[in-house]
């Protein structure tokens, strides 16, 4: 099912939770709504589900305006952050509740419940009450309850945020697999950019009720249009430093009191002659120079945060420019060590400090 949001707005008194949101979601697409807490993701989702009425704007399902259609007639399945399994019903009763309301014959209910339970791996739990289940099991039941009525649209509101880290990985993969198999149009709300990147076909980045960007994960990663998107997408987050880009001897140099970095002319030329701009470099585009290899920057290790597979190094360039990058723990970098760094300058980003818009992509 296609979902179109047109100038969708929701106000609570003076608070504008969602502000003129425009989004076109294609049939079968998996879209993530990504943004920090309080940016209006849940409100958007609940408007699509029909729980909240939009203050203004339209929601269209396959072209039809559904603003006034009650939730039960929208053919939508939803998974809540707290799972919202009814505590007074067994797993079986929870699963079949949507069917019971539709007056589906008992025999068919049993058949469908069995199929869903098998698909979700909860067949042995049907007689239990939600309080007797682990978080992951509750999650599966909630997912099963959303799927059992074969909805045309699946809504997820941060469904993994109450799970422990390992379970989150498993469930993430499972949700992805299910969605690909079933091909149901899905909208997935999360504040975790890794989740959004791994799951979604396209990501809608929101901030303070407004849409910041709506693009594929690669696009958001490689060509962020705003400073906010650049900082929000990617883990560890992008490094930002104030520089001035000048042209010298046919080269473009990003200059501040701490460093002079020759950057890719394609990118540098767009930032040159604008005075102070913000340069963004992703940690993964900074590497240690091997012996004999020329370095772009010299720095001093300021902090080492072991992440397991990598060490996250906070290095100080000059007096007050800090750059984060990842290093092999085997190198055993220590605070105070001198390091020589190479930067993939063909992938640096530039932003206008006033408008926070990208100087490269607009």
């Amino acid at each position: 099912m296609e979902v179109h949001l047109e100038h969708l707005t929701k106000r609570w008194g003076k608070v504008v939770a969602v502000d003129d949101l425009n989004l076109e979601i294609r049939s079968g697409e998996f879209v993530a709504l990504l943004g920090p807490s309080g940016c209006g993701k849940t409100t958007t989702l609940l408007m699509i589900a029909g729980i909240y009425k939009p203050t203004s704007g339209y929601i269209r399902f396959d072209g039809r305006v559904v603003n006034k259609v009650p939730p039960k007639d929208r053919n939508v399945g939803m998974v809540f952050q707290s799972y919202a399994l009814y505590p007074h019903m067994t797993v079986y009763e929870n699963l079949t509740f949507p069917l019971k309301l539709k007056k589906v014959p008992e025999e068919e209910q049993r058949r469908k419940a069995r199929r869903i339970a098998e698909m979700m791996g909860i067949g042995h739990l049907l007689d239990r009450y939600p309080a007797q289940l682990s978080g992951g099991q509750q999650q599966r039941v909630a997912l099963g309850r959303a799927l059992i009525k074969e909805p045309a649209l699946l809504l997820f509101d941060e469904p993994l945020s109450n799970l422990d880290a390992r379970l989150r990985l498993t469930m993430r993969a499972e949700i992805k697999r299910l969605q690909m198999e079933l091909g149901i149009t899905s909208i997935y709300v999360t504040h975790d950019q890794v989740e959004a990147m791994t799951l979604a076909d396209r990501i809608a980045v929101m901030r303070e009720g407004r849409l910041q960007a709506f693009a594929t994960p690669e696009e958001l990663y490689e060509r962020p249009r705003t400073l906010f998107v650049a900082g929000f997408i990617g883990n560890p987050p992008m490094n930002f430093t104030q520089v001035e880009v000048i042209q010298q001897d046919g080269q473009y140099l990003a200059v501040n009191p701490d460093m002079r970095l020759a950057v890719d002319p394609d990118r540098g030329s767009r930032a040159a002659g604008r005075g102070r701009v913000i340069m963004g470099i992703r940690p993964e585009h900074i590497t240690l120079a091997r012996d004999g290899e020329p370095a772009h920057l010299e720095a001093e290790v300021y902090l080492v945060e072991p992440l397991g597979r990598d060490d996250l190094i906070n290095a100080r360039v000059g007096k007050e420019t800090h750059l984060h990058f990842l290093a092999d723990p085997a190198l055993k970098l220590r605070i105070g060590d001198r390091v020589r760094l190479r930067v993939d300058t063909s992938r640096v980003q530039f932003f206008d400090p006033e408008t926070e818009q990208s100087l490269l992509w607009s």
């Binding site: 589900a49 729980i51 939803m78 707290s82 919202a84 009814y86 509740f97």
Partner: protein
Amino acid sequence: MAVIEAERVAVEARPWWRRAWENLRSASGALLFMSPATLLVVVFFFIPVVLIIGISMTNMSTATGFQNWKWVYLENYRRILKHPNTLQVLRNTLMYVALTLAFFNVGMALVIALITTHIPRRAGLLYRALWLLPRLTPSVVYVMMWKYMAADAPYGIINRHILQPLGLATTNLLPIYPWVFVILVNGFIGASFGMVIFTSAIESIPREYLMAALVDGCTPWQRIRHVILPLIRWPLLFVTTYQTLSLLTSFEQILLLTEGQFGTMVWSLWAYERALSNYWGNFQWGFGAALATVLVLIGIVMAVVYMRYFQFEALIQEPKIETL
């Protein structure tokens, strides 16, 4: 290893009284925390109940005074069984309690709570505030209002402003429909208690359950039936039990309204009349106490029946942490 072994042997070798004492000591913390409440219950409930049961086995009355009374054991109870009014009063009481409960103290309370939690909050608050007014009005004034409502023209409000203009015959309505007025008078006071409890119970249901119900396909009515009511089962049990006991023992409104006339005598009013306001001047404390004791027994039986019916045990979840 050897030390642990020795300790184990020591445990087994301890005499029973030692073990009992140690069990008591390990429970002493809990007992200590319970003691203030226990003290209150003992002083204000158990001691009076024991006294009442004691008095119910005597012939104590104004005639005997506090000096010359005698033990009569179950004589008062035998008199209750044989009394010509007993069956009628019992029937009255059960009808009064059941109807007031069903239509107002639980029924209306639930309806108000459900309505006011489904409309805009402010309107709900206002509407509920209205229902608190009868509770806030002093009973004498409140019952007086009802008496004026029922009275014959030209004073009675219903007669004067509704029946008379319609050309219908006017009369004092109280003796004609005594139970209607008894139940209305009590119900309008009693509904507010359940209303407050049910409203807060409904409002404390996690919002995601209510949203999930709508997404799952509930109409508002189905959501009430399948989700909201089951989730407020415990407050429902509580209000039903509490209000049953409270109605069983309350007689003040009936006393003010009809004084038990027109066939509206209920058990608690009977006990009060016998023990404390007999117009022959002979207060039959012994007989009144026996009536009161029977009422306590009826209350206990009802409470047990309710707990069975609502499956009280199933409502109490095993705590996850047993001891610290």
